[in-house]
């Protein structure tokens, strides 16, 4: 049924996946955090996403991309990324494919299956993921100097830490961002960002506050003099 779409995606896979990564790498964060080696790996990852998308479409089996997404999330987390980074990559692929490929709704839907699989099924991680859009809006409304991607990333790292019940990777990310903000001439921005998240959480639902409490405390401990 999707044979023509699959053929076209296969033919253009490298170019489409690179275009998606080009958009992501407009953020200075990526090179700062992961360097040229990370860029090379990210572009390769994006082409792997296309391979799994093609396999899911060929076998007409969304479970292929769902399992790929959750497996890859674990792998990327262990390399210092958060769930949102993978979700963003899939989102950029959806955008590029919608724009560049005719009648691509099946591919966009299949990628959405992958994105949906990145939402935790239950637990504190899920609570934070679902509350994230509203929290981002609240934080940006109260602290206009903050960048939306930075805020969203922080919330994703918090959600991942809450779900995994350890803060080691979150702490490393906070330490990196402290340094990154200082290099940009914005020392203190990391503390400001975390405090803005803490303030936004005060008006969030109790389960969201509870989900964030321990992990946010660990993050704040890194930036509190």
């Amino acid at each position: 049924m999707n044979d023509a779409l699959i053929d076209e995606l296969r033919l253009r896979a490298d170019r489409l996946s690179a275009q998606a990564m080009d958009v992501m790498f407009k953020r200075p964060f990526w090179l700062e955090r992961f360097g040229e080696h990370g860029r090379k790996n990210s572009y390769q990852d994006s082409s792997f996403h296309m391979a799994y998308l093609l396999e899911a479409l060929t076998s007409d089996e969304p479970e292929v991309i769902r399992r790929y997404a959750t497996w890859l999330r674990g792998l990327l987390n262990s390399h210092g990324m958060c769930t949102r980074h993978l979700d963003d990559n899939f989102e950029q692929l959806q955008a590029v494919i919608s724009r560049e490929v005719a009648s691509a709704s099946a591919a966009v839907s299949m990628l959405q299956e992958g994105r949906n699989a990145l939402v935790y099924a239950e637990g504190p991680g899920r609570a934070l993921q679902l509350a994230a859009p509203a929290l981002v809006r609240a934080v940006l409304a109260s602290a206009t100097s903050l960048d939306a991607d930075d805020v969203a990333d922080h919330l994703s790292y918090l959600a991942d830490a809450a779900e995994l019940r350890h803060t080691e990777r979150l702490v490393k990310y906070v330490q990196f961002m402290q340094g990154a903000f200082a290099r940009r001439g914005a020392a203190g921005r990391e503390r400001e960002l975390l405090q803005a998240i803490a303030a936004a959480l005060e008006t969030a639902a109790p389960e969201t506050r509870e989900a964030a409490a321990k992990v946010l405390a660990a993050a704040l401990a890194e930036v509190t003099p």
Binding site: F48, A51, Y52, L54, E55, T58, S59, E61, E63, V64, R67, Y68, W71, G74, L75, S78, H79
Partner: protein
Amino acid sequence: MRSLDIDILRSRYLAAQLNGERREALRLIVEEGLDHGIDPAVLRRDIVAAAQLEIGRLWQENRISVADEHMATAISQVVLAYLYQRSKAAKARGHSIVVACVEGELHDLPARLVADALDLEGYDVRFLGANVPTNHLLRALSDKPVDLVVLSVTISFNVPSARAAVTQLRAAHPDLKIAVGGGAARFAPDLCRQLGSDLVASDADTLIAAVNGLWSSK
């Protein structure tokens, strides 16, 4: 041996692997395993194969590097060769099997485990190893026909290669039995239907039982 003792032996074996201690790993298998009466098949499954799954998990969690994983796997290759030599083979069953990793699949330890086990079950087995180009697989079968091909796919990224291999094998040998085995079977539900193979299994024991079942009523 109690299951706790097996767990302890596996932990010690894994530690030896990750320290690059080939002799110690083999010593554990021989002196703590075989000399204690543990069947080589149990050692292959519950020590070597189980440790390999743990190695995969450690790599995924970025706790060991690719080099560590290769070193540990190379140690298990030596151990498997030793266990094969120390195993008693069953009477010949009169069926021939080729075991091969599909094109692009570099993880050959799981396939090796299956090849050894099938050989010891009494089958005439040719093991072609890792990353076998599909056209070379076809050539191997036209030189010397077999009753069954077992295609090994560890990572789901290589499922398209498996699909191509099954399709081309079927076209060239309509009566050939084809089995697909490996970790990828856990990843993709309904893989058998998707690929058009006769059997699919994600672990060696299940695959071997299914292979034995192919000819048991004949």
